[in-house]
């Protein structure tokens, strides 16, 4: 802190002048950052700048058309070295600016600068493209329930939510930004389809749009109208996303669809139901992982046993969402992308408990001849480490969770007293094309085949991280019960960061995940308790 004070006193630059945070310029709807394919800022779109001293302490919004290039003494310039344009602020505050990128902004790498009372900020590089769609979300995190309205009549268009799902065949109005440039950015748009191909994906199905262009009356904001197919999957979190010009894919959001439009049934999935209901929710998952790493220099088969110990207070609500439990319907896939190294320790959006964690004390997992204890979980997945074997280091094997019977005992904590459970660890399915998958080709899609697991929930989960730009992408596909194959479509893979051919700079992994059934348990201190043994087979892969 002393150094910080020195910095402020010595330079005066850090503490008073406007400052744009590094990588702090993002699509206003998706929040996707610089390093993701859809992290470019589209001409004519709404974008957000995060920083400090960017404007007045109390936020100011533009109130009338035509919009100006200055608001509350805040203005911006964007330059590629030869051409300079002025973005149009629609909201300014000390920590955040929302603005419209002029449609005549040169594409490619440009430099953005903010001026507050004529004092310039640091320049910040951004990437500009003609199209880069982002869907607005109810939680404002770029993931989860989209801002989408169910069209009932011209006077009745409720926002889609867990309590107001759509039904198959219904027309929907989806709110987004980044479909493309228009002739005027600072006037109230009259509407009209933009001259670019826009597709809506519901589940895995591409749906033609009924309208795709500026939302009449809302500069920088797009509206996409479409009809949900009659055979669309139903569920509380059906994936919905956009693809523009056949190439650029938006953030993947969700839409609640039920057969008759009634509220999402809490019995849909046990974990999802617990999330929707809120309250004190305990989720335990004994987990074995077998990861085959055939790069960078030699093959090594890593095995580790964990217990996911997630004791949390969750908020209920019409837009409840958590990537761990808000799974897409069987037969569909979802995807996430954003800032951070999600393959190591950084949390993905909305993955943390909604209202804090609960203390259940240490956990001990025991078989008839061995046991392991951990005192506290780590990582955003709430992993408690039980044992491992890592041939790169030693042949010593401390694993525990071979298929069979186990007991699990909590030592008791401040929130949840001691309790004991029994569970059966499952055996792995046979991943029949595992040895053939060392690369994920994003434009070709990916098919994973296996045998076994007919009575289990099987999923394919993959992800990649690009370290220099500090971004990650993850996809999740749920197999229909009894299936032996999943194909991940190219749009779901579109925003995975590609590899750099260097494991120190990028990494990727593909998992075949099987869950052996989610069973409830009751104990004091929890409203809902669930336990599910999980077996994960993984390949370290590269993404192209």
């Amino acid at each position: 802190m002393r150094l910080l004070a020195l910095l402020c006193l010595a330079s005066g630059l850090l503490c008073g002048q406007p400052f744009i945070y590094y990588r702090g310029v993002v699509n206003a709807a998706s929040g996707l950052p610089y390093g993701i394919a859809a992290g470019a800022i589209a001409q004519g779109s709404l974008f957000t700048i995060y920083g400090r001293n960017l404007g007045p302490a109390t936020g100011v919004s533009a109130s009338s058309y035509p919009l100006g290039t200055s608001l509350a003494n805040v203005s911006m310039t964007i330059s590629d070295g030869t051409t300079t344009v002025k973005p149009i602020p629609v909201y300014v505050s000390s920590a955040q600016i929302n603005a419209i990128l002029p449609s005549n902004t040169p594409t490619g790498s440009v430099s953005l600068r903010v001026f507050v009372n004529n004092a310039p900020s640091n320049p910040m590089p951004i990437r500009v493209s003609a199209n880069s769609p982002g869907i607005f979300t109810a939680r404002q995190t770029g993931v989860g329930p989209a801002i989408v309205q169910n069209f009932v009549s011209s006077s009745e268009t409720p926002v889609n939510s867990l309590q107001n799902p759509a039904r198959p065949g219904q027309v929907e109005i989806l709110w987004a930004t980044g479909l493309g440039p228009v002739s005027s950015d600072n006037t109230s748009p009259a509407g009209g389809n933009l001259p670019v191909k826009v597709e809506v994906f519901v589940g895995t199905e591409s749906v033609a749009t009924l309208y795709s262009g500026r939302a009449p009356g809302f500069a920088g904001t797009d509206q996409v109208n479409f009809q949900i197919p009659n055979d669309a999957p139903t569920g509380c979190w059906v994936p919905v996303y956009l693809r523009v010009a056949g190439t650029v894919v938006s953030n993947v959001t969700t839409l609640a669809i039920t057969p008759d439009g009634s509220a999402c049934a809490p019995q849909e999935t046990r974990a999802g139901s617990a999330l929707i209901q809120g309250g004190k929710f305990g989720f335990l998952a004994p987990l074995r992982s077998d990861i085959l790493q055939s790069s960078p220099n030699s093959s090594v088969d890593l095995r580790a046993d964990f217990l996911i110990d997630r004791m949390a207070q969750e908020k209920s609500g019409a837009f409840a969402f958590n990537p761990l439990f808000s799974l897409p319907p069987p037969g569909t896939c979802t995807a996430y992308a954003g800032a951070g190294d999600w393959l190591t320790a950084d949390p993905a959006p909305d993955i943390q408990p909604g209202a804090g964690t609960l203390d259940a004390g240490a956990f001990t997992v025991s078989s008839t001849n061995a046991s392991a204890t951990f005192s506290a979980p780590y990582s955003p997945l709430a992993l408690g480490y039980l044992g491992s074997v890592n041939p790169a280091i030693s042949t010593k094997d401390t694993t525990l969770l071979a298929p069979g019977q186990f007991s699990l005992q909590s030592g008791g904590g401040a929130d949840i007293p001691r309790f004991q459970l029994a569970f059966t660890m499952i055996a792995p399915v046979t991943w029949t094309n595992r040895s053939q998958i060392s690369t994920i080709n994003r434009s070709a899609g990916l098919t994973v085949n296996w045998t076994g697991g007919a009575d289990q929930t099987v999923a394919v989960v993959g992800g990649s991280t690009d370290l220099p730009t500090d971004v990650s992408g993850v996809f999740v596909c749920i197999a229909p019960r009894g299936a032996n194959s999943i194909t991940v479509p190219p749009p779901i893979l579109a925003n995975l960061p590609p590899g750099r051919g260097n494991s120190v700079r990028s990494k990727a992994v593909l998992f075949l995940v099987q869950a052996g059934g989610v069973l409830p348990f009751s104990t004091a201190g929890l409203d809902t308790g669930l336990i599910s043994p999980i077996y994960v087979s993984g390949n370290a892969v590269t993404v192209q």
Binding site: L7, L14, P123, S289, N297, S379, I393, T395, P468, K507
Partner: protein, 434 residues
């Protein structure tokens, strides 16, 4: 500087062992050798074992540790040897069979007896070795990336993946010891007063070329394809060395008021950013590497900029001013200064893999800055004079060289534990790792 490869880290682990210290990240049995022996014992199956450990001449003419394990019940045996970069007379072996105990220590040695001081570590204290003609000038050694390793590499690199054995379980460190031919390194050492660059190839470590360059060379950097080494010379030049031939391919003379010192090269290998170390008219000079010409000269307001460090994504660079206690942040895209602020004797900057944190050595410690906000988010007090740094590839350990001694600090960024490693060799610049 930024290309520490796993082999170097492994060497450092060995160095820690040689110094009789517990290598960080190692398993609780404390010794790489012990771990390897225990692995052999397991591979030989059940039954009583006997172990023999002795020193002898290795393939490289230096000393090696020879280990043999025999299963006395079955008669089966197996063994291995680890080459050491020392003469056997300089090494002391302590060994007990039961309970198993192996310790190797380097005997104290007169610094003048060191045949030649070189290092495969980016932490090479070359700074100390060179008498400073111009006060405060610092050099940066260059280490090439490892060659592609053979598929049968016995020391697999374990990636930092989700659901893999966690670091705390002892994984994610490559415990290769000795001279491993599959991890070949090339080391370039800038000799300021001799006006040359020495090239060493590892395994066995040997001097392979001495390349004359423009007078008063200071720092060097390799292009990403390892084909060209650019060497800055304070006497108004940048020398281009063809690493395939070890010959000077071109000498770019800079304007007479440009004094090349620090250098950084972009990931695409197109541009070199060279610092002009001077009190007035200091600058960043941008060089088109392919055309071997100066593209631009960007003034730096503060005096004596010394070194430049590119962030991993190449969007920004940090410039140190150790003589005038200032740190600059430079925007690569717009070729303009983002901001400058006071910072006590900044020597070097290392970025984490995601570029979200910058570790700045200066004063008697390390300051951790958020690259997003440029605010201080952490610090480590070390003492001495922390200077050159490198972050290990998996991002867990920050290795910091002490400008004032032969010590190297290893900071475990997970536990915040600081381990001080002294190789036991007191001659300047004689840290021999691998």
């Amino acid at each position: 500087m930024k290309r520490l490869a796993l082999g170097c880290w492994s060497g450092l682990l060995l160095a820690a062992e040689l110094a009789g210290q517990q290598p960080p990240g190692g398993s609780s049995n404390g010794s790489v050798l012990q771990q390897q022996i225990e692995q052999l014992e397991q591979e030989l199956g059940d039954g009583p074992k006997s172990v023999d450990v002795h020193l002898g001449p290795g393939n490289n003419g230096l000393c090696a540790v020879f280990v043999t394990v025999v299963n006395r019940a079955t008669g089966a045996s197996n063994g291995f040897s680890n080459g050491l970069a020392f003469d056997c007379k300089d090494i002391q072996l302590e060994f007990r069979n039961s309970p198993l105990y192996v310790k190797i220590t380097i005997k104290p040695k007169d610094q003048d007896q060191t045949p030649f001081p070189f290092s495969v570590s980016p932490l090479d204290p070359i700074l100390k070795q060179l008498p400073h003609a111009t006060p405060g000038l610092e050099t940066k050694p260059v280490v090439t990336a490892a060659r592609p390793a053979a598929s049968s590499d016995p020391y697999p690199v374990v990636l930092d993946l989700p659901l893999a054995p966690p670091l705390s379980a002892g994984s994610n460190t490559n415990l290769s010891t000795g001279c491993d031919p599959s991890r070949q390194y090339t080391i370039y050492r800038v000799n300021h007063y001799a006006d040359n660059v020495m090239r060493f190839d590892g395994c066995p470590l040997q001097l392979t070329a001495t390349i004359p360059v423009a007078p008063a060379p200071l720092q060097a950097e390799l292009t990403p394809d390892n084909k060209t080494l650019l060497v800055t010379s304070y006497n108004n030049a940048v020398t281009f060395i063809d690493t395939a031939t070890n010959q000077v391919a071109y000498t770019l003379m800079t304007p007479p008021d440009v004094y090349p010192a620090g250098i950084a090269i972009t990931d695409d290998g197109r541009l070199a950013y060279v610092i002009s170390f001077i009190d007035t008219n200091a600058a960043v000079v941008i060089i088109d590497i392919e055309k071997r010409s100066i593209l631009a000269r960007i003034p730096i307001p503060a005096a004596y900029p010394n070194s430049i460090f590119l962030a991993p994504d190449g969007a920004t660079a940090f410039i140190t001013h150790p003589l005038t206690n200032q740190l600059d942040v430079f925007d690569i895209l717009t070729s303009s200064l983002v901001t400058s602020f006071s910072f006590g004797t900044p020597h070097a900057v290392a970025f984490d893999r995601t570029g979200t944190r910058a570790f700045v050595s200066g004063g008697t410690g390390i300051t951790v800055l958020s690259t997003a906000t440029l605010q201080v988010i952490d610090s480590f007090s070390l003492g001495g004079e922390p200077s050159n740094m490198v972050l290990t590839p998996e991002g867990r350990y920050l290795l910091v060289e002490d400008y004032a001694s032969t010590k190297t600090w290893m900071i475990d960024l997970s536990s915040r534990k600081v381990v001080t490693v002294d190789t036991g060799l007191s001659s300047p610049g004689s840290t021999v790792l691998q």
